[in-house]
């Protein structure tokens, strides 16, 4: 596979959220605002790509018996770096995201990519695969967030779209709405683009 193919497969063809149903917890939790989703997505892109790179670099020295511990440790280190960076430089967004930045550690996408790709491929390829997975995740998050923020707040990225006459839909602000939107998205996209496979 060329590097471009690796990226496209990881980001779209095998999209972690839509195709593999991974990373659902955070897709439900932080998608009530576009800004939160974007920052969360950037955090995941950063962590998953660098974690993949590092795990791939040391894959030949890593004993099989402890490889998962090593992967978790490396992922956790990068996620904590993101958390500290946000706390120091973007305190407002850090406050809104609350515990979810720390929970990137347990986001299945990261562990999934580490185990499925980085543990047996070259560093640069792994980095690109991580980048793809992160970008794919971010796109889905932004898609869900655009619907939730538009109907729930009447805004996009905090900019008023609907005007003051808009009655805000409380359900859109709460986690269950993301559950329905995500399910509908998975349904539509799988039907439209992957039906021949199934």
């Amino acid at each position: 596979m060329t590097k471009k193919e690796i990226f496209l497969v990881s980001a779209f063809k095998e999209n972690s959220v839509i195709r593999q149903i991974l990373g659902i917890c955070s897709s439900l939790a932080v998608t009530n605002l576009m800004m939160n989703s974007l920052i969360m997505g950037l955090g995941v892109i950063f962590s998953v790509s660098l974690a993949n790179l590092t795990i791939s670099y040391i894959r030949n020295w890593t004993p099989r018996s402890v490889r998962m511990m090593v992967q978790t440790l490396i992922i956790a280190a990068y996620v904590i770096i993101v958390d500290i960076f946000l706390k120091a430089n973007m305190p407002d967004i850090s406050k809104q995201l609350g515990p979810y930045v720390g929970l990137i550690i347990t986001n299945c996408i990261l562990m999934g990519r580490a185990e499925a790709f980085a543990a047996k491929n070259k560093p640069i390829d792994s980095f690109i695969d991580g980048l793809g997975a992160g970008v794919g995740y971010t796109i889905v998050l932004l898609l869900i967030a655009s619907i939730r923020e538009l109907f729930g707040f009447g805004t996009l990225f905090g900019i008023s779209i609907m005007g003051s006459w808009w009655t805000k839909w409380s359900i859109m602000v709460m986690a269950p709405s993301a559950f329905f939107i995500l399910a509908i998205l998975v349904w539509i996209i799988n039907n439209r683009y992957y039906s021949s496979k199934a």
């Binding site: 402890v66 440790l73 120091a88």
Partner: protein, 226 residues
Amino acid sequence: MNEKSQIYPILFMLAITIIFVGILATMFRLYEPKIKRNEEQSYQSQLLLLFANTLETKGIISKDNLLKQENLQENFSKFVHKLPLDLPERNAYEVKTDSEVLGYCYDILGNGLWGSMRALLALEPDKKTILGLVVYSQMETPGLGARIEEEGFRSQFSGRALYENGKLVDLVLIPEDQKPERDNEIRQITGATITSSSVLKMIKDEIVKFDMDTLTTHKDKEEKGL
């Protein structure tokens, strides 16, 4: 060393842990002062904001000057003085100029729907009227319960009397779109009834505790040299 040996995985894990924890510890130490300063600044500006109007109308300092980031620390130590308090995890402050007391501020805590919340409650010098309220830490639902942080909800508390005929006033909730008719009515947040009533409960419970702790006792104790 052989990868199959028993000791190799342990040493490998140890080395990796030391390297990564080292990186994290260094990074945290580098950013620690900045994180602390952020938290402190946000706390100080929220507390001062509660008294900004009082300070401005009395012609002591303008709101902009008071909350300017570079003056924040100086203004805070100039106007805000911590009071001794026996209640754990809570704080009480006296806000005053050289000549007069402008009010008191209680750092209170209570439980919301999802977790604990913390607020600053500013009182007039007689401690019988609320000057302002700001919830500075909460875990409520964003867009619903979390709106207790917004001006529209919290500004309602300004000017409310805490006591009527020597008894604590019971604040009651009314629907968000109704106009309050009585002095004790607070417009709740639609879709966040539990959070709204938690705020009222927190204020009431904490006022009782702070009254029991009576700051005057401390003053008496100090004067008597105890």
